[in-house]
C-alpha cells in the first residue's frame, strides 16, 4: 500500500508541476496586502470609501448595513456616518439607480459588489489581487468614451471614480511582441491628459514576449497614499464577500483541536478492543 501511495503522489506532483507552468495573458496582478484583513481600522476606512465612492452606482444587495458590526462599527456610527439616504441599519446596501437606466447610461449595468472578490478570482489570479490592481490601474485615455482606461481590465466601462485621491500620472506600456516587421518593442506613453505617444523599435534576435506597465505620478506621496486607500477598499470588499470568514477560521481551529482529541480517544478505544484479537 505504501508503494501505491508513493507512486501516486510522485505522479500527481509531476502533473501538478506541469500544469502550474501554463501562464495567463495580460499584465501581472499586484499582490493585495492581505494583512489589512486583520486590521479593523483598515476595514472601517474601506467601508467608508465604499459607502462614499462605490455605493451609488454599485449595490451590495446581499450585505446588510449592520453586518459592519463585525468590523467594529456600532449601529449609531453606521447610521450617522455611512448611510446617506433613509435606509435603516437592518436594510441591505441597495441603490436607487435602476439596472435598465444604468445600462443605458454606462452601456453595462455596474455589477453588484456583494461577492465580487470571490467572483473575480480565477485559476490565474486571486480576486483581491485583481481588485487591488484594478482600482490602482486607471489611466487617462482620450480614445475611450469616459476618458479613462484600465490596465487590469482594458476598455472597462467604469471611469476612475477615485481620481482626485490618486492624482494625475503618466502611464507607459512597454510591449515586446510580433508586429508587421517581426519582433518589435512598442512603447505607448499616455500623458496625464490621455494623449498617447507611440514609438516602435524593431528588435533583432530572440526576445521573450512581454507586456510591462509603469506609472509616473505627478505627486508620488499622494499616489502612495492612494495605494493605501485601495488596499483598505479591497480589504472591505473581501470582508463583504464572506463576512463569516473570520468566525469560520477561528471556530475551525477549535473544531480541529477537538477532533484531534477525538482521534486520540477513538484510537485508544480501538486499540483497547483489538488488543485481544489474535
Amino acid at each position: 500500500m505504501k508503494k501505491i501511495l508513493v507512486l501516486f503522489f510522485v505522479a500527481a506532483a509531476a502533473i501538478w508541476g506541469a500544469a502550474a507552468n501554463a501562464s495567463g495573458e495580460g499584465i501581472p496582478m499586484d499582490p493585495f496586502p492581505v494583512e489589512r484583513m486583520k486590521d479593523v481600522a483598515s476595514l472601517q476606512r474601506g467601508s467608508r470609501l465604499f459607502a462614499n465612492y462605490c455605493l451609488s452606482c454599485h449595490s451590495a444587495s446581499l450585505m446588510r448595513w449592520n453586518r459592519l458590526n463585525d468590523v467594529g462599527l456600532e449601529d449609531r456610527q453606521i447610521k450617522d456616518f455611512l448611510i446617506f439616504g433613509t435606509q435603516k441599519v437592518g436594510d441591505v446596501m441597495s441603490i436607487a439607480m435602476r439596472p435598465a437606466d444604468a445600462k443605458a447610461w454606462f452601456g453595462k449595468a455596474p455589477p453588484d459588489l456583494s461577492v465580487i472578490a470571490r467572483a473575480r478570482t480565477s485559476f490565474e489570479y486571486s480576486g483581491p489581487d485583481y481588485l487591488y490592481t484594478f482600482l490602482r490601474g486607471f489611466y487617462r485615455d482620450t480614445s475611450s468614451p469616459t476618458g479613462w482606461n484600465n490596465v487590469a481590465s482594458p476598455n472597462v466601462a467604469m471611469p476612475h471614480v477615485l481620481w482626485e485621491r490618486q492624482g494625475a500620472r503618466e502611464t507607459s506600456f512597454e510591449r515586446v511582441g510580433h508586429s508587421e516587421k517581426g519582433m518589435a518593442k512598442t512603447v505607448s506613453v499616455y500623458d496625464a491628459n490621455g494623449n498617447v505617444t507611440v514609438s516602435t523599435t524593431p528588435l533583432t534576435g530572440h526576445a521573450e514576449e512581454r507586456l510591462d506597465v509603469s506609472f509616473k505620478p505627478a505627486d508620488a506621496q499622494q499616489a502612495r497614499q492612494f495605494d493605501g486607500d485601495a488596499a483598505d477598499l479591497v480589504a472591505y470588499l473581501v470582508f463583504m464577500t464572506d463576512p463569516s470568514a473570520a468566525t469560520r477560521t477561528s471556530i475551525g481551529v477549535w473544531a480541529l483541536l477537538l477532533v484531534g482529541l477525538l482521534v486520540f480517544v477513538t484510537w485508544w478505544l480501538n486499540r483497547t478492543y483489538w488488543r485481544d484479537v489474535h
Binding site: 507512486l7 446581499l62 485559476f123 478505544l269 483489538w274 484479537v277
Partner: protein
Amino acid sequence: MGLHKTEYKGLLGWIDARMPTLMLEYKKHASEYYAPKNFNFWYYFGAFAMTVLVIQIVTGIFLVMHYKPDARFAFESVEYIMRDVPGGWFIRYMHSTGASFFFIVVYLHMFRGLLYGSYRKPRELVWIFGCLIFLCLMGEAFFGYLLPWGQMSYWGAQVIVNLFGAIPLVGPDLAIWIRGDFVVSDATLNRFFSFHVIAIPLVLLGLAVAHILALHDVGSNNPDGIEIKDKLDPKTGYPLDGIPFHPYYTVHDLFGLSLFLLAFFAIMFLAPEMGGYFLEWNNFIPADPLTTPPHIAPVWYFTPYYSVLRATTEDFMWVLAAGVAAYAILLFVALQKPAVKYTVLIVALVLVALMIGGPLKLDPKFWGVVLMGLSVMIFFALPWIDQAPVKSMRYRPLWHLGVLVAFVLVFFVLGYLGTQQPTPGLTYVAQAGTLLYFAFFLLMPWWSRAGDFKPVPDRVIFSAH
C-alpha cells in the same frame, strides 16, 4: 398470546417480544456479522461514504428550510443562508464540501474494489448496486449544482442538457422536455430541485440498503481476497478469520471517521472553496442567460468524463472506428462459440458503418456523448472482464498494480484536462488518455490473466495490534 419468547429483560425484552425482527437484524448486520479481521486502510471508505450521505441529508434538510427554488431568488437565498441565517454558513459549507467529499470517498472506495477484486464472484451484485449508487450520485451532484443559480450552475446545466440534443431524431425535443423550456429557466430549476431533494435521494437510500444487504449475504472481501466462510470454526460455525462487526469494526471505523472529520473540517472551515475546485469562482456571479462565460468547466468530479467528451473530435472518429474494428477482430479470434463470434463481428461492422457513414457520419457531438456515457457505464462490466485467477492485487504480478496505477493516473490527467481550456496540444493528450482509459477495461480479459501469480494462502494475513 402471540408474543415472541424473548431472552432479553426489561424494555428490550418488551420490544423483542413484540418485534423480534429488531434484534434479529441487529445480530445479523452488526453483533453477529462476521467480517474478515484483516481489513486495512482502504476498508474505511464505505463507512465514510455512509457518513457523508448522512451529512448531506441532514445539512440538505436545513438548507431547504431557507433556500428558494425560484430563478429570481435562488442565488440571493443561498447568500442569505450564508449571511443572515444563524449558522447558515456552517450548514452550506458542510453541504458543498460534502458534495466533493462524497466523490473523493466513493472513488477511493471503488479503487479498493479494483485493488482487491471485491467485485468478483460472489459479489457481482454488490458491485452492480454500487455502480447504480455511483450513477445516482452523479445525478444528485448534477441536479444539485444548478440550485445556487450561479453562472457555472446555469451554463453547466445548459451544456449537459444540450448533450441529450445529440441523440438522433428525438434529441432536440428530449432536451426541451428535460428543461421544460427552450433554455434553462425557472422551470428547469424547479424540476432539478425536485429531483435533487426527493427523487434521487429516495433511490439512493434504497440502493445503499440493497448494497449493504447484498454484501452481508455473501460477506465482505478482504485484502487477501480469501473467502473467510470457507474456513469455519467447527465448534461455533463462525469463520475462523472473522470477527463480529460490532464492536470491533464499529470502534475501528470510529477511529477512521475521526481522521476523516479532521480532513473534512480542515477544508470546510479553512478553505471551503478548495482553490476553486469545490466551489467554482464563476459560480459567485448570478446566472445570466445572456452572457456565456468564456470557459465552462464542470466540477472536478465530472471532468474525467467531460474530457472524454471533448476528446471526441471529427478526426478522432477515424481512430475510434479503427479501434472498434481492431477490437472486433481481437474478440473474433479469442471467442470460441461461432454464434457469439459472428454476432460480435456483425455488431462491430454496423457500429463502424454508423461511425463513418450515414446520418451520424463522424458526428463528434453524438459519438462524444456515447463515449462519455460508456466511460461511466463500463464500470458495471468489471466483475466479468476481470479474469485474473486470484482476486487480490497482493497475489497478482506486480506489473498488474502498475497497470492499475497507470489507469488512475490517466483518470487524473483526464480530470485535469477537463478543467482546462482545450488547445490542440491538450486535445491530443486527452485523446491518448481516452484510448488508454478504454484500453484498461477492454483489454482486461487478456492482461488480467497474464503473468505469474503468487500462491494464495489458506488463511488471511493478520498481525495483532
